[in-house]
Symmetry: C2
Subunit: 152 residues, 2 copies
C-alpha cells in the first residue's frame, strides 16, 4: 500500500529505515531512528528487544552512501548485534564481512543474516536503554504537543 502522506519528504535511506522498522516491529522490537549513542555518532535505527537486547542497523541506499560512511565501526561498541540494511539492488559484496544483513525497501524488510552477538556490558546497556527511552518519549511529546515546546 502506498503511503502518499509521508513518502515525498523522506530520503532513500529514511524510506529503507521505515521498511526495516516495520519488519523489526513485527519481530517484537521497538525502534528509534537517528539516535545519538555518543557525541559525533548517529545511528540510523536502534532497536530494543523484549529482553533489553540492543541492535543497531545502518541503512545504505547506494554504494556512495556506504563509501562515504567513515563512522560505522564506532557503532559496534554500542550494540549487541550490528546489521547493514540495503535494497535488493545494492552490491552487498562491498560490505565488510562479519555483520548482519537486512534486505528491504520502504515497505518491508527481511533479515538475511543475523549479526554475531557481542554482548554489551550491563552499565553500557543501561545507558543505552535510558537514551533510547528519553529520545523516544521526547519525540513523541513533540509530535503530540508541538505547542508545548514553544512555551505557553
Amino acid at each position: 500500500m502506498q503511503d502518499m502522506t509521508t513518502e515525498p519528504t523522506l530520503k532513500p535511506g529514511q524510506l529503507l529505515a521505515r521498511g526495516v522498522m516495520r519488519s523489526l516491529a513485527a519481530h517484537g522490537f521497538a525502534c528509534v531512528e537517528e539516535l545519538v549513542p555518543a557525541s559525533g555518532l548517529r545511528v540510523d535505527v536502534m532497536a530494543l528487544g523484549k529482553k533489553g537486547e540492543i541492535w543497531i542497523v545502518e541503512c545504505k541506499s547506494s554504494r556512495a552512501d556506504f563509501t562515504s560512511d567513515g563512522k560505522w565501526e564506532g557503532y559496534l561498541d554500542w550494540c549487541d548485534r550490528f546489521f547493514w540494511a540495503v535494497d535488493s539492488e545494492f552490491p552487498t559484496e562491498i560490505l565488510p564481512e562479519g555483520h548482519g544483513l537486512i534486505v528491504g525497501d520502504a515497505y518491508d524488510a527481511e533479515i538475511l543474516r543475523m549479526g554475531p552477538e557481542a554482548k554489551l556490558a550491563p552499565a553500557r546497556r543501561k545507558v543505552m536503554v535510558q537514551k533510547f527511552a528519553t529520545c523516544a518519549a521526547r519525540r513523541l511529546q513533540a509530535l503530540r504537543d508541538p505547542t508545548g515546546l514553544l512555551g505557553s
Copy 2:
C-alpha cells in the same frame, strides 16, 4: 497560546496531564502518558529523569475523578516518587497525605510539594525503564508510520 488543533479531543484529565508533561519536560524529565506498569494498572503520567529516576503523576480533574480511583495505592510500588496533579480549584484537603503535589492546567504546572523518595529496587527500575522505552517508541512509530501497522 491556545492550541486549537488538539484541545477539543482531550478530556480534562488529559489536558491537565499535558500541562504536567510540559512542566516536567522543562525540569529535564521525559514523559509518557497512560503507561501500564502491571496488568490492571494504568498511570496517567510516568516521568523518567536523567539519572533513571521514575516519577508517577496521577492527574485528578475533579473530586469525583479522585474518589472513583480505587487503584492509586497500587502505583506506589512502581516509582521512586508519587505525585497528585490537580487544578487550582481542586479541594486538595481530600488528597491522602504524604505524597507530592503538582498544581497546573492544560498549559503548565508547578511542583508545590515533592513526593518523598522510596527508591525502586534495581531489577524493578530496569523493568520500568524498558517498559517506558518500548511504550514511547511504539507510539512514536505508530504516529510517524501509521500505514506500517496496517501491513503493507
